[in-house]
């Protein structure tokens, strides 16, 4: 297991796409800084305003970038044929998938939280005494939100990994995650009330606000899940995707 973990870590850090994905994710901090400077300038003209917090507004960018990292951790092996070497060296397929999940999980958990914290701190430092709406709560109030956002990033990366194993195709897996992250919430939002809120409560992007007891959006109102149920749902997504991936990986030829 130790050797498999080390091998997966070596594979992950030795390809440029990993660092490009990390770079795209880190764009969040840059955009957060630009955003805060912009709204601070507006606040100079208008006094106070209610601006969106950068660590929430740019979260889809972080989620998407690191999900692509999770997808590529496996589909690039199918594209290059490396998967055959990997499974020859680690014949127990569960071990291989577990090692990948651990490495992708830890890498995205670390990177996600670091980027979120940097975005958060930089924007609060720049915002200084301006009254921007999002910087008027204390750090202790915001920590649960940051943790929930970070966990959602890792959950999505593992969903990406699971779907990557299941579809064996970069395009297929990324498109499936996009459906989960953007298309389903879009379509569900247009259902007549109260079904829009009911269905939306179960969707991945809406689990983060429910985890910390925030409302989903001004249109959808409060979600239906209490924080513990939202956490369970958030864990159920990667568990289902990885489970499906594992069953298919075990049964199929490479």
């Amino acid at each position: 297991m130790r050797a498999a973990l080390l091998a997966e870590w070596l594979k992950l850090r030795s390809v440029t796409s990993t660092w490009r994905a990390m770079g795209a994710a880190a764009l969040m901090a840059v955009l957060g800084v630009v955003w805060t400077i912009y709204v601070s300038g507006l606040a100079d003209e208008r006094g106070t305003l209610q601006a969106a917090a950068p660590e929430q507004g740019f979260l889809p960018l972080l989620q998407m970038s690191l999900t692509v990292l999770g997808v590529l951790a496996i589909t690039s092996e199918y594209a290059t044929g490396m998967i055959r070497a990997s499974l020859t060296v680690v014949p127990r397929r569960g071990t291989l998938l577990l090692a990948k999940a651990v490495v992708v999980g830890l890498a995205t958990l670390t990177a996600g939280h670091v980027i979120l914290l940097v975005t958060y701190s930089a924007s609060r430092l720049i915002a200084d005494n301006h009254r921007l709406g999002f910087n008027e709560t204390s750090l202790t109030d915001d920590v649960p939100m940051l943790l929930a956002a970070g966990i959602s990033v890792t959950a999505l990366a593992l969903v990406g990994l699971g779907l990557g194993v299941a579809t064996r195709s970069t395009a297929g897996a990324i498109t499936s995650v996009v459906a989960l992250l953007f298309i389903l919430p879009g379509v569900v939002g247009y259902l007549p009330a109260p079904w829009n809120t009911r269905a939306a409560s179960l969707l991945l992007p809406n689990l983060v606000p429910q985890l910390v007891g925030d409302r989903l959006s001004s249109r959808l109102g409060d979600g239906l899940l209490p924080p513990w149920a939202a956490l369970l749902a958030l864990l159920a997504y990667p568990a289902t995707a990885l489970g499906a991936g594992f069953i298919l990986l075990k049964r199929r030829d490479v």
């Binding site: 507006l42 305003l49 507004g57 297929g172 953007f182 879009g186 379509v187 079904w195």
Partner: protein
């Protein structure tokens, strides 16, 4: 002409194309399900609530499915060649290179122009048939009035296909191109919607989702996008989304190694 025929054969001979076309047309079934659900809820609602019940245009909501699908198809027809190495063969056979991209554009563009109207008009007619005069007659407006909007909406699907192809040829990677495509469709509009005015409306007006209503002059006040562009300007922006990445790709493919 033979370049065109070979590109058509390439698209026809991979399974993912059929899956993508199937899902695009399957949008009609999704529309049927959503419309039936909405109709059921309308019928169960108390009489006094019915006049205030509203429903979104399902064909406008659901067009994102064929848009994304055909965008992915556009990406795959070029990035799969880079993955498998087929691109070297393709460029050896067509050494001037740009005809390969032109033929691919023609194939995915034409496919989109056939499939998108099927999906969009199909969703429209199914919703109209299921919903009838419910929701204050939202679907009772005459077909002729809706026709321009439905046509332009179908056209955006072809724009996505060409945009996907252009991005795929520029980035040479399915992951990169699809991520950028998704960023353009979903992530950037979400961010733009949160920017304080006046930039939210200004930038919102050039998002692809805003363009069909700007082109046909069907402005609604509840739109998440802006509506500042005149019909010709909006049409020009729509064409630019498809053409500019492709032109950049033609320029690059002639200079880069394959």
């Amino acid at each position: 002409m033979s370049v065109l025929a070979s590109e058509w054969r390439k698209v026809r001979s991979v399974r993912s194309s059929y899956l993508i076309v199937g899902i695009s047309i399957g949008t009609i079934l999704l529309g049927l399900a959503l419309a039936s659900m909405a109709a059921g809820m309308y019928d169960n609602a108390p009489m006094e609530q019915r006049p205030s019940a509203r429903i979104a245009d399902l064909e406008e909501v659901l067009v994102i499915v064929p848009q994304l699908c055909m965008g992915v198809l556009g990406t795959l027809v070029i990035t799969s060649e880079y993955t498998t190495g087929l691109i070297r063969t393709s460029l050896t056979i067509v050494p001037r290179r740009w005809p390969v991209l032109a033929a691919k554009s023609a194939v995915v563009g034409t496919m989109s122009l056939v499939i998108a109207p099927l999906a969009v008009f199909g969703t429209y007619f199914v919703s109209r048939w299921v919903l009838g005069d419910r929701f204050s007659g939202a679907y009772l407006t005459s077909f002729a009035d809706r026709l321009p909007f439905l046509l332009v909406t179908s056209l955006t699907v072809a724009v996505f296909a060409l945009l996907g192809l252009g991005l795929g040829a520029l980035l040479r990677s399915a992951a990169g191109a699809i991520t950028v495509l998704v960023g353009l469709i979903y992530v950037i509009p979400m961010i733009v919607g949160n920017i304080p005015e006046p930039w939210s409306e200004r930038l919102g007006s050039i998002m692809i989702g805003a363009l069909p209503r700007e082109i046909t002059g069907d402005i609604i006040t509840t739109s998440v996008y802006g509506s500042l562009l005149s019909p010709p300007a909006a049409a020009a922006v729509l064409v630019a989304y498809a053409v500019l990445p492709l032109l950049a790709a033609v320029w690059l493919i002639r200079r880069r190694d394959a």
